[in-house]
């Protein structure tokens, strides 16, 4: 199959890659660009472990084609911290023990950040419904909800 040439921006940096027309953005990120922070938990858009944003929109990168990244702005977990300064969400996840095995964590952080950009002060219920597409099997979500709320409060300056 002839490969496609794609120019894109990931976490603010320019990237170019070749990919097959049927190759997912997740496979491109992980296998071609070495960005293995996004995880494949299902490959069918059910678990959210591969969450990234494309032009500001939260997506499962296993359901997006690599070719769709042409000209787009993609952000992944690798771009969340500012150098060695963690994002408040990342800090509160560590401080609040909101991860156990940590494999769902990149996706949940990306999803939570996308929510707080739209809604800086979500109710627990809004937050739970927003994160309903991100499965976590270890924590029972309790500490995740608390950590996101703690980060949201800090980001609002509350």
């Amino acid at each position: 199959m002839t490969k496609l040439h794609v120019s894109t921006t990931i976490n603010g940096d320019p990237f170019e890659f070749l990919c097959a027309p049927d190759e997912t953005l997740l496979d491109v990120l992980r296998n071609r660009l070495g960005l293995t922070g996004a995880k494949e938990g299902c490959g069918t858009g059910d678990c959210g472990a591969c969450s990234v944003t494309v032009n500001g929109r939260l997506v499962c990168s296993c359901l997006v084609l690599g070719a769709e990244a042409e000209g787009a702005e993609v952000t992944t977990i690798e771009g969340m911290a500012d150098g060695d300064e963690l994002h408040p969400l990342q800090r509160h996840f560590i401080d609040g023990a909101a991860l156990q095995c940590g494999v769902c964590t990149p996706g949940i952080l990306v999803a939570a950040k996308a929510l707080l950009e739209k809604n800086p002060d979500p109710s627990d219920e809004e937050l739970r419904y927003w994160l309903a597409g991100n499965l976590c099997r270890c924590t029972g979500y309790d500490k995740i909800i608390r950590a996101v709320q703690a980060a949201a409060a800090e980001m609002r300056g509350a």
């Binding site: 199959m1 097959a20 496979d27 992980r30 960005l35 293995t36 922070g37 996004a38 995880k39 494949e40 938990g41 299902c42 490959g43 069918t44 059910d46 678990c47 472990a49 992944t76 977990i77 690798e78 969340m80 911290a81 963690l86 969400l89 990342q90 996840f93 560590i94 401080d95 609040g96 023990a97 991860l99 156990q100 095995c101 940590g102 494999v103 769902c104 964590t105 990149p106 952080l109 219920e125 937050l127 739970r128 419904y129 994160l131 309903a132 597409g133 991100n134 499965l135 976590c136 099997r137 270890c138 924590t139 029972g140 979500y141 309790d142 500490k143 995740i144 909800i145």
Partner: protein
Amino acid sequence: MSLDEYTRREFKQVGTRVRRPDGVDKVTGRAMYGADATAPGMLTGRILRCPHAHARIKSIDVSAALALKGVKAVITGDDFAVPEDDFIRDVQENCMARGKALYDGHAVAAVAATDAAAAKAALKAIKIDYEVLPHVTDVDEAMKPGAPVVQAGRVQENVPKGYSENVTAHFEFGHGDMEAGFAKADKIIERSFKTAATHQGYIEPHACLASVTSDGKADLWCCTQGQFYVRTLCSSIMGMEASQLRVTASEIGGGFGGKTTVFIEPVALMLSKKAGRPVKIVMSRDEVFRATGPTVSSSSDVKIGMTKDGRITAGEATLRYQGGAFPCGTTEFGCSAAFAAYDLEAVRTYGWSVLTNRPKEAAYRAPGAPMAVYAVESVVDELCLELGLDPLETRLKNAARKGTKSSYGPTFPDIGLVATLEAAKAHPHYKAPLKPGQGRGLSCGFWFNFGGNTCVSLNVNTDGTVGITEGNPDIGGSRASISLMAAEELGIPYERIRTIVADTSSLGYNDVTDGSRVTFAVGLATIKAARDAIKKMSARAAKIWGIDPEAVEWKDGAAVPAGPNAGKFPPMSLAEIAAVSAETGGPIAGHYEVNADGAGVSFGVHLCDVEVDRETGATKVLRYTVFQDAGKAVHPDYVEGQMQGGAVQGIGWALNEEYIYGPDGRLQNPTFLDYRVPVASDLPMIETVILEIPNPGHPYGVRGVGETGIVPPLAALSNAVSHATGVRMTELPMSPPRVLKAIGGT
């Protein structure tokens, strides 16, 4: 060995909520999981799986696959030598079928190719001639004489005659005169129950990277709960010496018991050996569901007698577990756990292990216990309801305690069940009012816990910091807990210690991360290794001071002369001793190796409130509280995390999760869309109450906490739904259609 007895102490660091050492890696995407590794010249491995529930493999033609461009190796079951040991042979045959495929999804061949597309094409080009055989997936059907036989010749000597050959083992536990016991009862209730098979549902699919070289050496990177056990299994299957196979455990994306064995690792090793290149295999979610370990599904009968004032006079349970196509290993634990919470004069449990055409069961948190305790706790609840008794008071009245002859034989030493029940009774949740249409459920739960083989090295660095090398993959924050215990013992700050998980060539054998053993056993070995290092550091200080080593004691992170006769020397800190270690005899390290016993059994009590939508049959969990004895919570956040995670997995098991088989014997729901695990919007906060009743078998009183939490939710939810609807629920999961049917809806 003698037990390492608990001594009471004031903790300075243990019990604090420190930051875990792998936290930054995990929130930035840097942590390396099973699928994240690469190797030069790496090939992509893929596995072909049988589309039938039961089929003889008449022939496999791989020639067309091998002829494709980019395909470097193809293997089938015939590439593996037949292991002599029965157990190893089962593990190997579960990884790849030989002669007969035993379940939908059973691996039958595998390929290694230069990329995923080539590997996929190669799988399509493999031609297999199957003779489809009759199949059986239901436990009760499989027990009947005349049922299709999954594997012949596997029946243990303890099985009475008259059953299908699928019945491989029979167990009986208990004591007392059953007839006399039931005769004393004012009320006897008998019920039958069914539970569906559920999957551990870890978010990370199995993944590994194998590299076998022509000189007979091999490296294996994989996500596993136990790299040493992977080495044992793979070296046996591959006919390799253990020393030549180095297994490195990646960060692990959940396991819950499901990553305590191998599925793809021997396949990747064989492909790598044949292709002469590294091979990586990553399972799809479909493969995880179809071919890795779910739990057993069960069918059971329970009969319990009670007096009017709430004393249980006799209890009997018959448990039938199907564990898939290979002999099941959890029935005996279901039998042992079923009535463990009760002090009974007459008790009997009977267990049957049954083969079916389903994937081989794997451990899942307290393997075998949840479905047994579910059935018993449901009947206890119904008796309380019928006799107008308070379910908590009734459990207190019958609770096992120190000196109780347990339902599985031994007399209990100090146990925490009564304290746990008292805590639940005192909690505001128990007295909180309910609205119409809502119900409250309660259940006890039990698990054994164990210790096991453990080996720890503790290295004192010359700058006064400490490195700990241990051998158990960290699934829920155990590196933090281990560092905390070392910090406590050594008297240095937690931040100066770094704990790493070693590969199999870097440390002696460690049992798998299972049995709730890590904080208990690795913690115990770490404390002992720290004491070994302290002894050596004290000897160095004694040498420097020119006094007897016995005249030195360790206090607040420093060697100090003990008593007035030892001389007057200022304390020498760990850092000061470490700085001159080269001059005083060389590097300082502490070690400890043990097969730890004395883990101490664990009890939990769960309370939950639900509301059932009578139109849809959907159950909403409104409030949930977990009470559990941790002995000593080393890192309370991660103890709470185990309790919350276990509870929510149990909620999923009770309400939605199930393996659904069609009449063709194929799994119908191998996706997270159709196999529905709890999501954030399904749940309330999960409140936790940690009790700390010290375990006499651990220096800090630690008890394992990982498994007990999944035992009580099944009955807690079922009792709550039964109260909310007024109809006794007897089958799990209580999915909306099943609840609707039970309450007479459509």
